[in-house]
Symmetry: none
Subunit: 220 residues, 4 copies
DNA sequence: CATGAATGAGTGTTCATTCAT
DNA sequence: TATGAATGAACACTCATTCAT
């Protein structure tokens, strides 16, 4: 041990909710703990990654015990799964929407728009989380339908059956570009709106023109 | 995580090198253990993430003991740091090259080309690894020069002093697009070369035209 | 150390509490585990020294797991710190008492008496522990108030402001002599009471007579 | 891991002797490594304790490898044993001397004198070391003759066959008092000589008067 | 004389998880 | 709804020790 560091490391067990709640009416013991857990969890998982985030951290941040987490969720994995299925609906809706659309030259553009909306929309986006935890997401429902499966489906619908590999690649890149821009914006002082705008522009720019049937897409 | 990873991890303790060694070479043929550690480490860190990868895994895969890792590296962190500084040189070279170039309308394009080359070349792994472990990379040298700092520098040099925020964003996105395409290609059956080609195309397409002051190149 | 300790340490893993428990009490009867840890810890630390005592030893002797120790204490250091602050009160009380006493020729004698009482009093004394682990104790609160600081304070109060260095030395030796006698008694078949008696005698004998200069309390 | 600390922990392997030696003629590679090891070892064992001191520390401080230590000593224990037997001779001499002395009333006093000389002389370190590592010393030669055995022998010879338990205790305390004073002197600004003088005084004061059978011994 | 490379047992510590209350 | 107390498995890391060169 050599030299012993003085204070630190006191584990600050107990820092109950009473401390911070109390004031403001006792009305909150009732219900939404589960929602709060989800909120904190997605934040931490996104910031630090799934494996690097411990249940203790989540519990402590909420002023509850680890055991309490187990009342609401049956495992750590269950938390992350819940986060996903919760937000997977958005993707599902997008897929459903795409399926209904008449296949036309502007479907791709409109799909991209919705994608941009989705990603830049709600606070801590699942997309960001998914990118930060690809492995977990992939392992989550092995063989079953997960976010990546959904995306693939979306890609296929929007690309259409006749799209060449290059076309597919470009389209996927277009749809994913929001995240690239998000990544690119790190360290730059830009408002979220401006980032979103640029993302949209770039995405539009990348959408490959539809190549109906004949000819090559780079035209004469 | 318990249920997540299905097979694997079966605890196959002991599977020593004697199996493959010619029984008689005292401890090891005196050479490249360190290099092998790095190789295995970058593989696992990329696949599973830094935190999700244990030193036991690395050691076992090499048929050595955990303690042996500590002969070559002073900590887990040291391994990851070593991986980085090893390949940081490529980025450094790129920055140096950019600095020497005469600022002209085609600098951006040529920078993008080199970037694509770098990422699709041997360095593939490091970039992929970096993206899969952003947090670790960021925390690695706090305040000091790391991969992200390097990239930022590159961005600034290539963008030039008068670039607007939008322009910067687009340029960054262009330079990073290789990775987007890499990501997009997952699950698609395409050769690496084709992916690289598309990446290059897309990157070129995204490079913002230089808007110094005069009309310049975007003209008709 | 390998060959040093002959028997002992036979690795007797698992020797659970079920043996002595009435099978059915969920985890523990809810009470004094923490106290028991402290008890065992001070014993082992005193016998073997802090560094030479492993948490496994402590846990095993109690029939609990190492992890259980961490439920009650946040680190090994925390255990030792707790032992100290727990018993530091005794020293504090002594200091407080000394401060209140009217400075007179018999203060020294009475202080010595209380000291002897304290050290020979409670079972495994902190004093013995402190002497066996001087370094740890010193490193424990670096710069802050620890046992040695307390003793110094006591020495100064009892010695008075005009004491010569020799006088101080003798007084300190008197106060510490209990421990010398404790040490000297090792290997000798004597009852604790007799040891205490001799210690008291010796201590009294060593107390330096007060040597003011002016009349003061040794007056005729 | 949470936050990664930057530099530190680089293990500073290699810091060879060439760096510091080189200058001063190459004459030192020859011999006295063993002596230096002992010197460093006794320092560190005394400061930090035997268990808390690692062979790596010793080796590093000397600019050699751990393996080199094993050339000179067959184990860590061997080092400590060597330290002891080296200085055990002094004690042996004392015992021998005591044995030769005619048992008389002043033997005790003279024995105490020699003891004080021994402890305050060059041997200081060993005694201090022994006190700081009582357990190790005790375990060192289990059943065989060690420092404590020697001391016990000395005690018995000097006390004589008819001494009561109290007498023995006092005598032992007298002989050990040097160490008490050494301990007491910590934190006090006194020269070693003065400490020695006080120690001698105290020791003399504690020597119990010989109570053979008849009469008082200090009588005229 | 000494090192480079390695090992096996052990350290303190943290984790996800369980369950009686 | 939650908690207090605990567990077993794993983790990163260090130690004393070995041995071919």
């Amino acid at each position: 041990m050599a030299t012993i560091e003085p204070g630190t490391r006191v584990r600050e067990r107990r820092m109950r909710r009473e401390d911070m709640a109390m004031a403001g009416a006792g009305h909150r013991r009732g219900s939404d703990t589960k929602a709060q857990i989800r909120k904190v969890a997605i934040e931490l998982f996104t910031e630090q990654g799934y494996e690097a985030t411990s249940l203790r951290e989540i519990a402590e941040r909420l002023g509850i015990t680890k055991a309490a987490l187990y009342y609401h969720f049956s495992s750590k994995e269950d938390i992350v799964r819940s986060l996903f299925t919760e937000h997977l609906d958005a993707l599902d809706a997008l897929v459903a929407w795409a399926r209904e659309q008449p296949p036309g030259p502007d479907l791709r553009t409109r799909a991209v728009d919705r994608m941009v909306d989705m990603v830049t929309g709600s606070g801590t986006s699942v997309m960001r989380f998914a990118l930060a935890n690809q492995r977990v997401v992939r392992d989550l429902h092995p063989g079953r339908e997960n976010a990546f499966e959904r995306l693939t489906e979306l890609f296929e619908i929007v690309a259409g059956p006749d799209a060449s590999v290059e076309e597919q690649l470009r389209l996927r890149a277009a749809l994913l570009s929001v995240n690239t821009v998000l990544l690119a914006a790190q360290g730059l002082k830009v408002s979220d709106q401006r980032v979103a705008a640029v993302a949209r522009d770039i995405a539009h720019q990348l959408v490959p023109p539809v190549t109906d049937d004949a000819s090559a897409e780079s035209g004469p």
